[in-house]
């Protein structure tokens, strides 16, 4: 080995041991070496591979090689519920010197290939894989197998999968890497390029979708699928049948299609990556190049190309941002920064929803489904109320149809969701949320009416997107029990809720709201009572720049695609259609009123709403999506003449993009100064979870830092190099 031990120094590694025991199988000459991957913790801390773990694997094969009597085969399995979840991500993050990044990842790449090939090849009797004795190798995949864990399994000759595997996947591309311990070369040659593209690229780019054991088996990743109850025993019995020659799993595998089929698969992957990323992040494209290479490359050159890609990506800003974003979503989202003692939370046994409109119905549904308590909707209009309750009941039936809930649950939830024309029904509610018209006076009146009925400790929540929660509570006797709980539309899809602590909100109210958010399976970010909070404020600022360009005469398509190079989940004007121009206008008007110098008057948006247009796009005669000419006219006919009319050129796409990003940097800087959230990380978390902004941007501040925009606009970075951006 030529691996520089120094570059692989990683003292914080939770080392996964590779225990070896020898198993006797009937009718098999010689023992089978059974390797157990186990990091010594329970399943909540899955086994990973860092440099020391990989060396343990090599040492295990050394031991197996020296075993007397000689082994008949090698099998590898994991601790309960976990096979292996792949490379220890902390290794990359532990490297703080820029010049160590590439050599370290290069060395880790080679060490992993060495260890996996040494075990997986079954070549014993010398480190030279071309010589020596070959024994069959088996991966007995008992539980979660991600990334490097799956790659180790692919290096083996045969694979048994458990139906109990909760997740089997290559999340590398999702994070900004490629499977670089053999995955891009071995998987397509096992299951074909098309399926490999689905697993390595499509799933990774689809919110890191994972496979279950049975689906992985259907794709051809496993040779046998066994129940979890006695998986290891039956997997070893299957190993015995293979070793005795009673069955030949290889003969059962589907033949892999090469030539055109391979090229088409890679092309499909590129189209898919383009649609999602517009070239914004390199990992998916590198993975596709490697899959293309795998059709004809010999193993050594294929593996070398993987290591090269790993080293290249290791220094990328996208990877640094991806790892940062992953950490935010995994950890920070689960424990909101700045939250009070969770023990202060009060139980919520009944919920009131003021209003019976679309949003109220969505809220009632999520409370009924997740909190499983009685939910009362109220509306003074009997017809609207009946329609609202019916709407919720219909959605409960839909959950039943989709097998998300059982018939008994459907009965329970429907019985729990009722309507009342007066707020008297809220008397014993522990929590009431209002989703009425976005008007401060209306909401103040609602809260005043509620306070007359409910207990002094009943938590009163508003789902306002832009109004001041503090003002809403100002006239109450108990303003301390008022907070904001801002959902994102569609409520059942987007994971974020902004929990708004108003000026006088007490800790118990915040704790109760955070606890409720968690029960609703939402990720909460605690925000201050600042105009439009986080997501809407930033999207509005951003949209303002985009609409401004349209007003100045930049063609609509050009404006709307100006941000494509960021790889956002949707373009700004498509997002506008989704949010609804009326809602966007309301938020924009509020922000303009508060910050008129940064949030321009949303005149074009107002015209769009006035024109009754719900979207900038419409369907053309041939079914294709086209810009609605009337909507375009509404956006363009600014009160002031377009710049083109005065001889100046309208902004180019690049200028629109730069203006939008600069606006974001400025706004985030101000929001942090205003202490809207605890840290820039919370802004990023909001944008990832509430707006679906991608990991490769790290939300947004890592991107603004690594492109120099934040320093150019505000004179400082949001975070020092090495946290969410590569070390410098």
């Amino acid at each position: 080995m030529t691996i520089d031990e120094v570059t692989l120094d990683y003292p914080d590694e939770v080392v996964t041991a590779a225990h070896v025991r020898y198993v006797t199988l009937p009718g098999v000459a010689g023992p089978v070496a059974l390797v157990t991957l186990d990091n010594g913790h329970d399943h909540t801390r899955p086994s990973t591979f860092g440099p020391a773990g990989l060396r343990r694997l090599l040492a295990a094969v050394d031991e197996i090689e020296a075993h007397d009597p000689p082994v008949a085969a090698i099998a590898v399995t994991g601790k309960p519920f976990i096979f292996s979840v792949g490379a220890d991500l902390g290794f990359r993050s532990s490297i703080t010197e820029a010049d160590r990044l590439r050599p370290s990842l290069d060395a880790l790449g080679r060490l992993g290939h060495d260890a996996f090939a040494r075990l997986g090849s079954g070549r014993l009797g010398g480190r030279n894989l071309e010589s020596g004795r070959k024994v069959p190798t088996f991966a007995l995949v008992n539980g979660a197998a991600l990334g490097g864990g799956l790659e180790l399994a692919l290096h083996c000759d045969y694979r048994a999968l458990s139906t109990g595997i909760p997740a089997l996947a290559f999340p590398e591309v999702f994070l900004g890497l490629v499977p670089a311990w053999g995955g891009t070369q071995l998987l397509p040659n096992l299951i074909g390029a098309d399926r490999a593209v689905s697993v390595i690229v499509d799933n990774a780019l689809s919110q890191n979708r994972t496979l279950r054991g049975s689906t992985a088996f259907e794709l051809g990743i496993g040779d046998v699928l066994l129940a979890p109850a006695d998986f290891l025993e039956e997997a070893l019995a299957w190993v015995g049948r293979v070793l005795r020659g009673e069955i030949d799993p290889v003969a059962e595998r589907r033949p892999v299609q090469r030539g055109d089929a391979w090229a088409e698969a890679v092309a499909r992957g590129r189209a898919l990556a383009d649609a999602r990323l517009h070239g914004a992040a390199p990992a998916a494209y590198r993975a596709l190049d490697l899959i293309a290479l795998a059709e004809t490359a010999d193993r050594d050159s294929g593996f070398a190309a993987e290591t090269q890609a790993l080293a290249d990506l290791s220094v990328s800003g996208e990877l640094a941002a991806g790892l940062y974003a992953f950490d935010l979503v995994q950890k920070r989202a689960k424990r909101p920064a700045g939250g009070p003692d969770p023990a202060l939370a009060r139980p919520v046994t009944k919920v009131g929803v003021v209003g019976a409109g679309l949003m109220a119905a969505q809220l009632a549904l999520v409370f009924a489904h997740r909190l499983e308590v009685p939910v009362v909707l109220t509306d003074i209009d009997a017809d609207r109320l009946d329609a609202g309750v019916a709407n919720v009941h219909r959605e409960i039936d839909n959950l039943l149809l989709r097998h998300r809930i059982s018939p008994d649950q459907a009965n329970r939830y429907k019985a729990n969701v009722t309507g009342s024309r007066t707020v008297d029904a809220f008397a014993d509610a522990d929590l009431v949320i209002e989703a009425v018209f976005e008007d401060l006076a209306v909401k103040q009146a609602v809260f005043a009416e509620l306070e007359a009925v409910v207990a002094p400790t009943t938590v009163l929540l508003t789902n306002t997107s832009a109004l001041s929660v503090t003002e809403m509570a100002a006239r109450l006797e108990h303003p301390e029990r008022v907070a904001g709980l801002h959902f994102f539309n569609p409520v059942s899809v987007l994971p974020l809720v902004e929990v708004v602590r108003a000026a006088r909100t007490d800790d118990a109210t915040v704790a109760t709201t955070l606890a409720v958010a968690r029960t609703l399976k939402k990720d909460a970010v605690l925000v201050a009572d600042a105009p439009a909070f986080v997501v809407n404020r930033l999207l509005t600022r951003f949209l303002g720049e985009v609409l401004g360009a349209a007003e100045q005469g930049t063609p609509i398509e050009q404006v709307d695609h100006a941000l494509d190079p960021l790889g956002l989940p949707m373009s700004p004007l498509v997002l506008l259609s989704l949010v609804g121009p009326a809602v966007a206008l309301h938020v924009a008007q509020n922000l303009h009123a508060t910050f008129p110098d940064r949030f321009r008057a949303p005149t074009s948006l107002a015209r769009l709403v006035e024109a009754g247009r719900g979207s900038v796009y419409t369907t053309g005669p041939d079914g294709a999506q086209i810009v609605d000419p009337e909507a375009a006219a509404a956006l363009r006919s600014a009160t002031g003449a377009p710049r083109s009319a005065t001889g100046a050129q309208p902004p180019t796409a690049a200028e629109v993009r730069e203006a939008a990003l600069r606006a974001l940097a400025e706004e985030i800087h101000l929001m942090l100064a205003e202490k809207v959230v605890a840290e820039a990380a919370d802004i990023d978390l909001c944008m990832i979870l509430g707006a679906g902004w991608p990991f490769h941007l790290g939300g947004i501040t890592p991107y603004l830092d690594r492109t120099g925009i934040s320093e150019a606009v505000t004179g400082e970075r949001f975070a020092p190099p090495g946290i969410a951006t590569p070390p410098r």
């Binding site: 225990h19 157990t36 109850a229 025993e233 070893l236 019995a237």
Partner: protein, 406 residues
């Protein structure tokens, strides 16, 4: 009663029996759950008998002495759910200390006989390493205040010493010789491949050394010698007779069997390896619980109209050598009678309390196939708190058997 057996009772057959290899407490199964042991057994019974549709199982009766933790909460139901049986298949827990699995068999068999069930799973599990006998027990103080039992009654080794007192002819030397023979017979049965077919390999995890596959019993000591046995101390009484060598150990393991009405077994194409003739349970003074099998056997014989001479094969649980010898002396059977414990017994194999009864039956079933000349066989065991349990079976391979072999 039930229409399927109106006016008569149905023959009940022993279809198949399997067990995990037995382990020493704190040994191979130190980190393996008790419920995982019995689940493995149930799944293996189904795997070995693919013609049995799982939904045809009417009951899962699982015995455990210490029904706590991973042996608690109605282990028969828990095990059925964990084993993946259809949710329509019910289950319950049984406790009669060492005779738990025997009781699971006799109770479900009786239900089959009267037509309440067609097919049942009966078995037992005991993880004595995790759950020592008496764990969590709360004995009524009246036992002591009113001298309801001798204080030695709750210490099984002391009850064995008491049996020695009662039968002075049973010396330590005889007990040790019997123990040695048990070890030797187990070693021979292993060499002949007579034990292994009814063992199901069990994966056992060790956090510090990885998974292993347990394919053989851990307790046997094939290198045992008389000298070695003679040198062992007597932990229950100074200068006593009961040693670790002439007693069963503290063990972990699970057993299970399939029982069916004879006609249902035939319908489903299931083998009938034994036919139940009858059974008996009896009580004795708790401080000499080892003599329990004598009255239970007499009861079983009387009620089946058989005599001891009709029994061609005996599977006697060897909790202690002295209690087996007391049984043999009582019935006039030689210590080394070849009909007795042909594959050796619990002194070598181990005795995970509530599971042992089905091990005896499984071994008897295999011996029936080897000995078509034998018509009747018996299992018997002593039971803590002063009881005995006996079952009598007919060999379907015998020419005069009332049930046809399938």
């Amino acid at each position: 009663m039930f229409g399927s057996a109106r006016g008569s009772v149905r023959d009940v057959v022993f279809v198949d029996g399997v067990r995990t290899p037995f382990g020493k407490a704190k040994g191979v199964y130190a980190e393996t759950r008790a419920d995982d042991l019995i689940v493995r057994v149930i799944r293996e019974l189904l795997r070995r008998n693919p013609s049995l549709p799982p939904e045809r199982i009417d009951e899962v009766a699982v015995a455990a002495t210490t029904q706590i933790g991973d042996q608690g909460l109605t282990i028969g139901r828990i095990a059925g759910v964990l084993a993946g049986l259809p949710e329509s298949v019910p289950g319950y827990a049984v406790d009669r200390m060492c005779a738990g699995a025997v009781t699971a068999v006799t109770t479900t068999a009786s239900s089959i006989a009267v037509g309440a069930y067609d097919v049942a799973v009966a078995g037992g599990v005991e993880h004595m390493g995790r759950h020592p006998m008496g764990e969590g027990a709360d004995l009524n103080p009246r036992f002591v205040a009113e001298r309801l039992v001798d204080p030695s009654a709750l210490v099984m080794g002391s009850t064995a010493e008491n049996v020695h007192d009662r039968f002075p002819a049973i010396t330590r030397e005889r007990a040790d010789a019997y123990a040695l023979a048990s070890q030797e017979k187990v070693a021979k049965a292993y060499a002949n491949g007579q034990i292994q077919p009814d063992l199901v390999p069990m994966a056992a995890r060790h956090a510090d050394s990885g998974w292993e596959l347990v394919t053989a019993d851990e307790p046997p000591r094939p290198t045992t010698t008389l000298d070695g046995l003679a040198g062992l101390r007597t932990p229950f009484r100074p200068h006593g007779r009961v040693t670790a060598g002439n007693s069963a150990g503290i063990n972990d393991g699970a057993t299970g069997c399939l029982l069916a009405a004879a006609e249902v077994a035939a319908e489903l194409g299931l083998p009938a390896r034994m036919t139940l003739v009858g059974y008996g349970f009896a009580g004795v003074a708790p401080q000499v619980m080892g003599i329990g099998p004598i009255p239970s056997t007499e009861k079983a014989l009387a009620r089946t109209g058989l005599t001891i001479d009709d029994i061609g094969l005996f599977e006697l649980n060897e909790a202690f050598a002295v209690q087996v010898l007391a049984f043999l002396d009582h019935f006039g059977i030689a210590d080394d009678d070849p009909r007795v414990n042909q594959y050796g017994g619990a002194i070598a194999l181990g005795h995970p309390l509530a599971s042992s009864g089905v091990r005896l039956m499984t071994q008897l079933a295999r011996q029936f196939a080897e000995h078509p000349e034998v018509r009747y066989g018996m299992t018997a065991m002593c039971v803590g708190l002063g009881m005995g349990a006996t079952t009598i079976w007919e060999n379907p391979h015998h020419s005069a058997a009332t049930t046809a072999t399938s």
